[in-house]
Structure formats: C-alpha cells, structure tokens
C-alpha cells in the first residue's frame, strides 16, 4: 500500500505489521466458486448487450423522429407487399404473434435444421447470418425475467 501514490499520507498512522496481520486474518475472504462468477458475468453481458441495443434504437428514434414516420407511412402505403424490416419488427417475434417466446426460437431452429428458407429479419444479432446464435438470442429474450416475460420486447 505504501507504494500506492494515492495512499501517500495514509501511513501517518503507525499500525504494527503484526497487529495488521492479526486483523487481516480475523476477516477472511470467502471463496467464490468459478461457476458463480461465470454466471454473474454472463448475465451482466447479456443485460449490457440488450441495453446497448435499446440505447442505439432510442438514439436513432430521437434523431429522425417524425420525419422518419412520414417516410415510413408513405412506404407502407405505396408498397403493398411490404414486410416488416429488421428496424420495424419486434426483434425476435419471428411468428408475428406479438410476443417473443420459445416458439419463435423453435421456428428458426426448425428452418435451419430442415434447410428451409431463412428470413433475413431472423438475424436478430445482426452478424450477417441466421444461425444458432440468433436462436439463442431469441430464447434468452423469451426467458428473461427482468422484464415482462410475455408480450415484451427484449430489454
């Protein structure tokens, strides 16, 4: 600690090393299981990724706001076969039932396993491919208990 420049001046209180050791040994550090740490970090990263995504969408919406709404309204009425783009659809609501649940993940998984047609909007993590990562993303959103579990968008 004496080498820490931020602790300069803290050694004005002399405390014998022997007593300091006794004090330290009397307050042990509990063992933290590796799996505990891994779960905590994994959860933190999933939550962070979802919040980052929400931030990007909020930022984007605030910038172009009503002007984008007018443009999109025009497109919606001019393009009769318009399908929801990745920016418009509920991310993960593959079957368009208004909620993100395990059936959405299943639909994508089934399509991949049978070699069926893959809709680009299913690329929910926007890495350019529709694969198991997208399935896992959708399933993770489905089981997220930090938000409304049904009918809610991924947080």
């Amino acid at each position: 600690m004496t080498d820490d420049p931020e602790n300069q001046g803290n050694d004005e209180f002399e405390f014998p090393p022997t007593l300091r050791e006794k004090l330290s040994s009397g307050h042990p550090t509990p063992s933290v299981p590796a799996e505990f740490s891994a779960r905590l970090l994994a959860s933190a990263k999933v939550g962070y990724a979802l919040r980052m995504r929400r931030r990007r969408i909020v930022r984007w919406s605030a910038v172009i706001g009503s002007a984008a709404a007018i443009i999109i309204l025009s497109l919606l009425f001019l393009l009769p076969n318009h399908r929801s783009s990745p920016h418009l659809a509920q991310a993960g609501d593959v079957n368009h039932d208004g909620r993100v649940d395990i059936l959405d993940a299943y639909v994508v998984a089934k399509a991949i396993s049978t070699g069926g047609k893959l809709d680009p909007v299913w690329d929910v993590n926007h890495d350019g491919v529709v694969d198991q990562k997208d399935i896992d993303w959708i399933a993770a959103a489905a089981v997220n208990v930090t938000g409304n579990p049904t009918g809610a968008l991924p947080q």
Binding site: S43, S61, A89, L103, Y106, A109, V143, V145, T150
Partner: protein, 154 residues
Amino acid sequence: MKRMVPVIFLMLGLLGGSAPEANRVDATQPNVRFAAFDVMIDSGKMPLAAYQVKIVATSGDVALVGIEGSDQSAFAAAPYYDKHAILNKQIIVAAYSLAGSLPTGKTRVATLMVRLGSSAKPDWQITLQVAGGADGKPINATASIVQHSGETHP
C-alpha cells in the same frame, strides 16, 4: 392499423423502464437441504415440440440453484433460463426439440434443483406460457410441478 404499429413504435422509441430488481431469496437456515422438483407438461395426444413455463415459489424458504433437462430424450438438454434468476424465487424455463420422435401425454421436461432453508414444503405457482407442436404452432397443454416423492403441484 397493423401497419401503424411499427410507426407508433418508431415514434415512441424503445423507452422501456429499467428492469426491476429480481426478488432476493431468503438466507440459508442452519437446517438447509436440497431437493429436486420435476416440471411436467401434459400435451395430451399432441406431440410436444416446445414449451415455456414461468415458475414462482410463492412460499417457503426456497432458492433455485440449478436446472437440468429430462431423461426424455427429446428434452434431454438443459433448457433455456435466465441465469440471473438463479438464487431467486422465480424463473422462466423454456426448451424446444427437433427430435424426430416427440413425446405425447405427460412428459417430464426439466428438473429444478432447489435449496430449502426450512423443513416446510415450498408452494409453487407454475404458468404454462406456451406449448408448441412440431409445426411451431401453439397447442393446448397443462403444466405442473412434481416433487420426486410424487406429490403434484398444479
């Protein structure tokens, strides 16, 4: 109207509130013990390809410590669940199966490992949020929780 939905969505933005803190579990008691509870889905005659349940421990000193798949081969893999829910009292569990042979009737789909802080039996509330058939469409089904002793918690 359906076309307006994404527009309204766009204009309002995704301004959802921050996630609420998960309920914390009670601390362990001196007479802590562990138990297993099976999650059962009864899909009747319909083959079960996917399920999603919400499970809440409504009483008792209970903490979820782990989740396993079932011995039913279609759902042998560990299901999806929110890792943040571990050590909490509520959880959403979900899984799907691409197996060629899907189960019908009453199926054990997952097993919850719990830590009990007292001798009192926990009370469970289980809600089947969705069950799906091989075509990915919702099917009628019921969910229940069974302790390994055989007692059923509908």
